[in-house]
């Protein structure tokens, strides 16, 4: 009788042990999914117990953000209503707009969410981009600083249009984080256009992110950033642009002080933080500001950055103690020093 009990106990233990060991291998699956939304490609790579379910929730959330909250062209979005005379916004949009106003102030206006009319004027993503006259630029820049938010009430001066192009993709990363944070055994690499969220329930797990080579093809990278869970966004002068008949190139990131494409000492800047909307907004601000003027802003938001200068130097704010490391993989570039 004792023997029988012992045998049964051993069998039960074996089963339990096998299930515990096997669960991770047998039930953890990976899914790769792609969605076109927010005027870009969203790609999701999720490993976990029910990755398809997680991916489905994320896709629904991103479509909601696009069509109901942030799109400037979709008539059903809150931003559309705001740009067309409505003054009251939801708590969600109010919170985001208040944060963006703060970044506008902290960046001395280098980041500005009120450049919708300016980008319409240039039409860089349209069939007929053109260089506007100075008078046209002056007219649309006149009141861009004067938009304001108080509680859930937004004031937008006449002729000013808000545009989330510089922050929506990063904000989408934050919304995704809201879905996956706290799930067990999950690993996610999510890219909303060039804004990337990497997250693992193992906090020490690292990810390798390629930083686009500003002078190369769209899939080329010139450095690899190895980092634990974070949000990473890049702003560069290579992505959306047009050339006039004289061969001058005009890209899509405007300097709010001139109304022209930003012309600082860099071809791209990549910002790493814990919040996507911050990495996205700061990458735009830092692109406008250039290396030196960006540093206090980065420090204020506890963000790190990697600048690629127009002398092909890669300048990083990462230091030895940081959890992220950078490796230059293209010999045309050399690591530069922060001055």
């Amino acid at each position: 009788m004792k023997k029988k009990l012992l045998a049964a106990a051993v069998a039960v233990c074996a089963v339990v042990l096998a299930v515990v060991i096997g669960a991770d291998f047998l039930f953890s699956k990976e899914t790769n999914e792609v969605l076109l939304s927010m005027n870009t490609t969203v790609s999701l790579d999720i490993t976990g117990y029910k990755p398809e379910q997680t991916a489905k929730e994320i896709k629904e959330e991103i479509m909601r953000l696009d069509t109901e909250l942030l799109s400037r062209t979709s008539a059903s979005s809150e931003l559309y209503a705001l740009n067309n005379g409505k003054a009251q916004v939801s708590d969600e949009l109010a919170t985001l707009l208040a944060e963006l106003k703060q970044i506008e102030i902290d960046s001395d206006g280098a980041f500005c969410v009120a450049l919708g009319a300016l980008s319409d004027l240039w039409g860089i993503n349209t069939d007929n981009p053109k260089v506007p006259t100075q008078a046209e630029i002056d007219a649309v820049l006149k009141n861009t600083k004067d938009w304001s938010i108080d509680g859930n009430t937004v004031y937008i001066p006449k002729g000013v249009k808000l545009d989330m192009g510089a922050v929506g993709k990063g904000y989408a990363c934050d919304s995704m984080m809201g879905i996956i944070y706290g799930l067990n055994h999950i690993k996610t690499v999510a890219a909303v256009g060039g804004s990337v969220l990497v997250y693992s329930s193992e906090p020490k797990e690292t990810f390798r992110l390629g930083i686009r080579d500003p002078l190369g093809q769209a899939t080329d990278y010139c450095a690899i950033l190895e980092t634990t869970g974070s949000c990473v966004s890049t702003s560069g002068n290579y992505e959306r642009f047009f050339e006039d008949e004289k061969g001058n190139r005009y890209h899509h990131i405007f300097d709010p002080s001139t109304g022209y494409p930003a012309d600082s000492d860099i071809n791209s800047v990549t910002v790493i933080t814990q919040y996507g909307y911050i990495s996205d907004a700061l990458s735009t601000a830092c692109f406008v500001l250039g290396v030196e003027k960006s540093l206090p802003l980065l420090e204020k938001y506890n963000a790190e950055a990697i600048f690629i200068t127009n002398n092909n130097e890669i300048i990083s704010t990462l230091s030895d103690g940081d959890s992220a490391t950078l490796t230059v993989t293209n010999n045309n570039y050399k690591l530069g020093e922060l001055r």
């Binding site: 029988k4 045998a7 049964a8 051993v10 069998a11 074996a14 089963v15 096998a18 060991i21 096997g22 291998f25 047998l26 790769n32 792609v34 076109l36 005027n39 870009t40 490609t41 790609s43 790579d45 993503n125 349209t126 069939d127 690499v189 890219a191 256009g193 060039g194 804004s195 990337v196 990497v198 990810f207 390798r208 992110l209 390629g210 930083i211 686009r212 093809q217 769209a218 899939t219 080329d220 990278y221 690899i224 950033l225 990473v232 966004s233 890049t234 560069g236 992505e239 959306r240 990549t270």
Partner: protein, 125 residues
């Protein structure tokens, strides 16, 4: 009274379980060959196993504006698109798992499933 579980049963259970776990590990780690999955308007239009492509060919997608792919052994790329920005063509050749190119106006997406891992988890741009 018959024994509930005999020693042989334990061995049997152990063998079955180990076999199951072994299979699980094997099936997760075995690399399936790279497959290009083409989506038009969110629906799968065609899957092409790229390792089995003998001869390169062009594939024009029934989307609007029109876009054409070049299907080659182990890689695929957009080579023509009737849109303005040509971002899809600029994306270049796709060959590693997760590589993706999209023509936004035509709602056409090509993504690589399975196949080899590349050096990076994602590209920031």
């Amino acid at each position: 009274m018959k024994k509930l579980i005999r020693p042989l049963d334990i061995i049997l259970i152990a063998v079955l379980l180990l076999g199951g776990i072994g299979f699980g590990i094997y099936s997760k780690n075995s690399t399936k060959s790279a497959t290009a999955v083409i989506y038009i308007d969110g629906e799968i239009y065609q899957s092409i196993e790229l390792t089995k492509v003998e001869k390169s060919y062009e594939l024009t997608l029934p989307c609007s504006p029109e876009a054409t792919l070049l299907v080659e052994r182990n890689r695929i790329s957009f080579i023509k698109a009737d849109c303005n920005d040509k971002l899809c063509v600029g994306t270049g050749k796709l060959s590693y798992r997760g590589d993706t190119a999209a023509c936004l106006p035509a709602k056409a997406v090509v993504t690589i499933e399975n196949g080899g891992e590349k050096e990076i988890d994602a590209l920031v741009y």
